[in-house]
Amino acid sequence: MKIKTFTIDGVELSGREDQTILEVAREHGIKIPTLCHLEGLTPIGSCRICIVEIDGKRFAPSCITKVEDGMKIVTNNSEITEYRKTILEMIFAERNHICSICIANGNCELQNLSIELGMDHFEIKNQYPRCEVDLSHEKYGIDHNRCVLCARCVRVCAKIEGAHTKDISGRGHNARIITDFARGWGEAETCTGCGKCVQVCPTGALFEKGKPVGARKKRDFLNYLKIMRGQ
């Protein structure tokens, strides 16, 4: 395994060639906001919140970009912040988020991000799409009004549980999380009811019936899983 040297925010650092910028940054206590990324799941680089500037000329998502020799990485400047805020604002505007009545209120990664990025006002128009709430599963429910399409649930269900119940259907802004052949979750024969998807969901979109999210979500359980398996 080769070792690469580069700078992050002006500090000379090194990392293994298979490491991402995000991994190295976190090892050194450098904070980079993320949303779709979750340790233990295959990264897909889709939310673009974790972008960093490389060599002063291009922006790349740190969660999937591997470190390379000589890279000059900047994790925070006004331009990066503007892009992150705009993306986040658009994610909020994409669905119908009303925190005060949300079960995830106070324990939501989306909400935390908006605090972290200091979003004090919103300029982007809400899209107000019509979204369903599917309560057909005996234990769990999905509220599409709060989904950010991070696909964590899809990935954990396919790769960790091996059930392949969840998928994304539809294109563009019509994309929706579905279970099996887009029937109600309760009818999805492949679902084992393991609840892993609920645990990893960053928002209030997936929830266990009758329980507030704050009391339940253990989003870092995958890390334990990894350690247990000795990976």
């Binding site: 892009y83 658009m90 563009g172």
Partner: protein, 536 residues
Amino acid sequence: MLYEELLEKIDDQFLSKDKQSTISVCVAAGCLALGSDKVLEELKRIFPDRKVKGVGCLGLCSRGTLVRIEPEGFVIEHAKPDNIDEIVNFIQNPEKIGDENKKFYEKQQKIVLKNCGKIDPESIEEYILNEGYKAFLKCLNELSPDEIINEVIKSGLRGRGGGGYPTGLKWSTVAKMQSPIKYLVCNADEGDPGAFMDRAILESDPHRIIEGMLIAAYAIGANRGYVYVRAEYPLAIKRLKNAIKNAERFNLLGTNIAGTTFNFNLEVRLGAGAYVCGEETALIASIEGKKGTPRPRPPYPAESGIKNYPTLINNVETYANISTIINNGSGWFASIGTDKSKGTKVFALSGNIKNTGLVEVPMGIKLYDLIFEIGGGIPNDKEFKAVQTGGPSGGCIPSEYLNTPVDYESLVHLGSIMGSGGMIVMDEDTCMVDMAKFFIDFCKSESCGKCAPCRNGTVQLYEILDKITKGEGNERDLTTMVKIANTMKKTSLCGLGQSAPNPVLSAFKYFKDEFYEHVLHRYCPAGVCKFNGGNR
């Protein structure tokens, strides 16, 4: 097998008829839709002694059906099935045919379209008789893979699918990969509105693509290839499949090609229908039978493509240049065009322009010459306003820049791109806000939805532009518009989202006043937008 031996395989019947008195009827999709097949049949019946044949696109599609008569080289326009007497009269008295469109044909330089409108696309024999497969057999018999790749590098050829990546460099990357299996792909998913270059090439000269792919396959060491064609192109698919069958019949595809140990199998795959499937990683996913959505690069397909094997992917027009580069030499090719953009480019002219159709011009030609000399200018005595290159990924260029040479760098410098070759000309009656809205609407419905900036940015930009065209916009909307556009450009996952804001940003850059007229005075200078309560 040498080229001379291949020529000997051709049946005498293809050589016998007097080449000098050919009547060629365009049977590419544009003219076929106007009933050119009926014209072809009638003329065959009326002139049994002359060689009457169907050919591919002659270029001036807006005046179809086109019939070209040799040896005069004149072209009869609007040859409709119910005008057959008039057509016969022209054929018998060719001097009566006007040549008002001489400039259209004369100012062009044809490499890719050399055979278009000349040979029968359904006949491999005609292709072979026009130097067809000569370059491939030369490569196979005389050149090493390295020598071929060097020729392509020296030619300076760049990808014609939009990005302009150096073709030789891509080939050498795939060639260097150590892998028992490598794949070759031809991207014929052409989805830009107004673009039909690749379709015309496949319909008019399909063997040229097969030959280009054979040379590439031999050079990089690939044995399997796919042509990924848009399902909406049934005629192109039919002709390509027919061409593959014929090439197999001549032992130019399949196993032990031309008596050597080289094997190459070529298959046609139909596109899944989404614009984004033309993006290379999405296209590969689609060929693998998965959902056609892009994935982050690196790794690039050259390292890890179909089933994780190294895969070379090039555009139709890129492959169409290869045989001529081998035949005429890289030096010859590199002498055409500009410093960094070599060779020619095919454009589909459309919009408010007299001669809509297909043209091929040397790189570096001035936009003015392309639009006013070859294209014949703007019809109905209207003023030129702007030209959109690169379709929904490109931008508009106003009249101040008509002197710009058409090459990759100059167009990018102006905020547009070369793109795959769509060129939409707009006259004074076009509203640039409305135009920007049209393109972003296209991207909005074509965004795959995987990454947040593009999925949401396209919707937001559309909503803002829609508001402005309804007279409901304000200055703050313009600031938000630019902010979103920049965010998309810099942070989207694939080329679709990265380039979708180009039409909006360039329209705003060059026609700022027009945007402000809309938001400040509820006035649409072009008179296109209908506001509630009327203009002003």
